[in-house]
């Protein structure tokens, strides 16, 4: 028996919007993509409810983790020493290995020189949990931009992204528990040499705890130990036989190990080399070949010759 039904109106049968219609182009902005997926970054942003589990272990030698910090005080530079120096082949970046909470050594093999992509490196001073998360986010952001936009993020874009992440961290930084003061070093492969001596393919960017960025030409140093070696760097650069930018790999390695040793001499939160346990500073270079870590054996050798004795000039 044939039931006389009216044909359903095709409009009523249209299925709900399907997934493919909701694909949005974020123009390569990874932070917007995360936000759209309701993923909150683990630092900064509106996390005053204490749910943010930023570790209170910090690369700081100043005050214990449990101390209430007066929010109106500017957070002092965090304990540690990291230094970046422009040399002949590119940039050399080094950092000591100690992480402290007050007067307690939490970790003696911390890696504070983090490779972000093939040609860029971030050296960190400040809260390690925040800094590692920042480095991880940066790494993913650069990759995401390249994969979705089919071209590498420009130098300007990368610098600005670092700035943005630090600024997003402001709330924690002002509370004095999560500040990060990084040095960002990169090698600009598209750089074309011109006659001006002050520019080069290797570029170093220095940030303050609120995200302002400064480009330095020859060197940068950060952390509580940095005050002791900033003057030395300036002196060497201006009046030593070889200006920093003209040093070769071995001269640069000598200089940087001596600088870190100097910082360790005067700053309790900066560790020198621990020869007995074979723990030396981490040294990485960024050159035409990309980011490379100096092998421990080479660092040990240089330390013996340039720091423990005076055989090397």
């Amino acid at each position: 028996m044939h039931t006389n039904r009216q044909s359903p109106n095709p409009e009523d049968l249209k299925p709900a919007q399907h997934v493919l219609d909701q694909v949005v182009d974020y123009q390569g902005n990874f932070l917007d993509l995360l936000q759209a997926h309701s993923i909150q970054l683990q630092f900064g942003r509106n996390n005053f409810d204490g749910a943010n589990t930023v570790s209170l272990t910090r690369l700081s030698g100043l005050g214990s983790a449990a101390t209430m910090v007066n929010p109106s005080e500017q957070p002092l530079t965090e304990g540690t020493t990291v230094v970046a120096v422009r040399y002949q082949d590119g940039i050399m970046v080094a950092g000591d290995r100690r992480a402290t909470a007050g007067n307690v050594v939490m970790h003696d093999r911390a890696d504070k020189v983090l490779e972000i992509d093939e040609y860029s490196v971030m050296a960190i001073a400040g809260a390690p949990a925040v800094a590692y998360e920042m480095a991880r986010t940066l790494e993913h952001s650069f990759q995401y931009f390249r994969r979705s936009q089919l071209q590498e993020l420009s130098i300007e874009g990368k610098i600005r992204m670092v700035s943005r992440l630090i600024r997003d961290n402001m709330s924690l930084a002002l509370q004095g528990i999560g500040g990060v003061i990084p040095i960002f070093a990169l090698f600009d492969r598209s750089y074309l040499a011109d006659s001006s001596a002050s520019t080069s393919a290797g570029r170093i960017f220095f940030y303050d705890v609120l995200g302002a960025q400064f480009e330095t030409v020859d060197f940068a140093t950060s952390g509580s130990g940095s005050v002791w070696i900033r003057g030395v760097l300036h002196y060497l650069d201006r009046w030593s036989d070889t200006p920093l930018a003209q040093m070769d790999l071995s001269q640069a390695t000598n200089t940087i190990l001596r600088l870190l040793d100097t910082a360790a001499e005067f700053d309790a939160a900066t560790s020198g080399a621990n020869v007995k346990s074979e723990i030396y500073p981490i040294i990485k270079t960024i050159t035409q070949e990309g980011v490379q870590g100096l092998p421990v054996e080479q660092i040990r050798q240089t330390y013996q010759n340039a720091v423990l004795s005076r055989t090397m000039a």
């Binding site: 299925p15 694909v23 990759q143 979705s148 089919l150």
Partner: protein
């Protein structure tokens, strides 16, 4: 329209015919495992092979806008997943089964909405390597050695037959040069087969429709090289690899024009002269 059941089936069949018609002239893509990873090759005037993640690549055939949407979908999903959990949690299996196939199938079956006109080929470095072809209706084919996508079933079958009948053993014993040559010739076979379809070659009446292949699979190497050379007057070989030995975390790399030039197969005359 849907008050009679068979109308739905008719609508689906029409949809298939429409998509096949739109996709048939597309340039085929060949994916091959070799001793240092996976090679993906096609001939195009733009870019068709994309990096999705550290060990993942994607290529496609079809309407550019649809391919672009799918590519963004997969890339976004991989990036978010890799950030939230870890890089190792981004796998081809998850991306194809949970991210790519459901929307594609949904799009295919939503007969009142516009279709997604694309076939996808994805490759993953791993233990073992994997190549997955996703059809416009959401079905998949997987291989650990070689996979192809082409404009029609005939084109794909012809390419697979051609690869099967060569002396070369597929898999991770191939050198890059061997893989490149095989991939390029397989592409040529597929492209010739689709041209034949365009011009309406006669179907073999003794074979069922699903067994149709093109006589292109019987072309000689020299004929195929000649065909490739003609095509390369207007377009370029796009060959990208997922390279195990690459130093950086991301293993994807597009071969340079020089590398492509070095690996182009010579026809037998040139090969003789070079000896």
């Amino acid at each position: 329209m849907l008050d009679e059941h068979y109308r739905y089936l008719e609508a689906i069949q029409n949809r298939r015919d429409y998509i096949e018609d739109q996709i048939q002239a597309g340039s085929p893509v060949v994916g091959l495992v070799y001793n240092d990873g996976i090679l993906i090759l096609t001939v195009t005037s733009g870019q068709k092979i994309y990096e999705v993640y550290n060990d993942l690549a994607l290529s496609a055939i079809g309407h550019t806008a649809d391919v672009e949407r799918l590519r963004l979908l997969v890339t976004d999903a991989a990036s978010v997943q890799g950030f939230q959990s870890s890089v190792d949690d981004v796998t081809l299996h998850r991306l194809t089964h949970f991210v790519l196939c459901p929307p594609i199938k949904q799009s295919f079956e939503s007969i009142f909405n516009s279709p997604t006109i694309a076939k996808i080929l994805m490759a993953e470095l791993g233990h073992p390597h994997q190549l997955v072809a996703v059809n416009y209706d959401g079905t998949t084919r997987t291989s650990q050695k070689a996979e192809v996508i082409g404009g029609t079933d005939t084109v794909e079958r012809t390419m697979r037959n051609y690869m099967g009948q060569t002396d070369i053993r597929l898999g991770d014993e191939l050198t890059l040069k061997q893989a490149f040559e095989l991939a390029l010739l397989t592409w040529a076979v597929g492209r010739t087969a689709s041209s034949a379809t365009e011009y309406g070659f006669t179907l073999d009446p003794d074979r069922g429709e699903s067994d149709q292949t093109s006589e292109a699979e019987d072309f000689s190497t020299d004929e195929l090289i000649g065909f490739v050379r003609a095509e390369l007057e207007e377009r370029l070989v796009e060959a990208s690899i997922l390279q195990i030995s690459k130093r950086s975390k991301s293993k994807f790399r597009r071969l340079t024009a020089d590398e492509v030039e070095d690996m182009m197969p010579l026809d037998s005359d040139k090969a003789q002269n070079n000896k």
